[in-house]
Amino acid sequence: MASLSHSIKRGSAELAILMVLKDQPLHGYEIARRIEQDTAGVLHFTLASLYPLLYRMEKRGWTRGAWETTSGGVKRRCYSLTAAGLKQLAASRREWSVFFRALDRLGGLSRA
């Protein structure tokens, strides 16, 4: 699959993180892996791209980080969605839905 442009990736990154955290708390590496797997590699986070975003989202109150011991016995900082994060997820989903519907009307994306 062709890579998405950088700007679209950047705009969708927060939504992708919110979506994977909706189901369960995950630590940073798991978040990156889950997104990469679930999008067949279209969305790909590195350490450098992921953590500034995670910290910004935590500052905004959308996520909450807490140190937990994993099944492997190592400590990792796991992120979970807050009520504000769930609200933001719903709002972002609506916005992206509007965005894609508009593109679809413009260029018939669903038939492309």
């Binding site: 350490l47 910290y55 190592v74 593109l103």
Partner: protein, 221 residues
């Protein structure tokens, strides 16, 4: 086993944030590199290759430090709600308050008693409330407010009306200068219609042009 903590310590420059927070960030980044390394080993990479893959996640450590420093700071002095709801709402409310206080002082008292002036004055007030509703909603939209925030900012002046209405009604019912008429429910409903419902409808109608094009605005963002 590589010591990823020392790798991060040696490459990531001081973030200049609270020491405890900085230590947590360094530990978290080291954990990420450790997981990436272990994952690559599990996939069959050699130790050297796995380490190179893990380190390739950060092409520029100085830039990463800058990005983390910026992300860890509070974003501006205003919250999104302040920008999209409270400020636009207060602007609309300020205009409404200016009209409520200014019009009785500027217009001669005789005009209030002239039946011929009732309609033009009512129309003028309603038109001004349409404009205030539009002002609140447009400022909210400009700040990136959603439809609910735009509507709330537009009808924000109603807060002033409701607070005055409640104060007047309570004072008329229980104050020193009680008015028997004020206790009657019909009077209160009529007063609410004139002082709250009609201005509220005018404000809400004023917001409409700025609610309808929400989809276009967001799609073009």
């Amino acid at each position: 086993m590589r010591d990823w903590s020392s790798v991060v310590r040696s490459r990531l420059i001081a973030l200049g944030i609270e020491a405890e927070r900085e230590e947590q960030i360094r530990a978290e980044l080291a954990g990420h590199l450790e997981d990436a390394y272990a994952d690559a080993i599990r996939r069959g990479c050699t130790e050297e290759d796995a380490a190179a893959r893990a380190l390739a996640q950060v092409p520029d450590w100085t830039r990463l430090a800058d990005a983390i420093r910026r992300a860890d700071q509070k974003e501006g002095p205003m919250s999104p709600d302040a920008k999209t709801l409270w400020l636009p709402g207060m602007a609309a409310l300020g205009c409404a308050a200016a009209v409520m206080l200014g019009v009785p002082r500027l217009l001669p008292a005789s005009l209030w008693l002239d039946p011929r002036a009732t309609m033009p004055m009512t129309a003028g007030l309603l038109l001004s409330y349409l404009a205030f509703g539009a002002l609140g909603a447009s400022l909210s939209r400009r700040a990136g407010g959603g439809i609910a925030a735009r509507l709330a900012a537009g009808i924000f002046p109603l807060a002033l009306h409701v607070s005055i209405f409640v104060t007047v009604v309570v004072a008329a019912m229980f104050g020193d200068r009680r008015s028997p008429e004020a206790i009657q429910i019909n009077f209160q409903l009529r007063a609410a219609l004139i002082f709250i419902v009609i201005p509220g409808v005018a404000l809400a109608v004023g917001t409409l042009p700025f609610l309808r094009d929400g989809a276009k605005t967001r799609a073009s963002a």
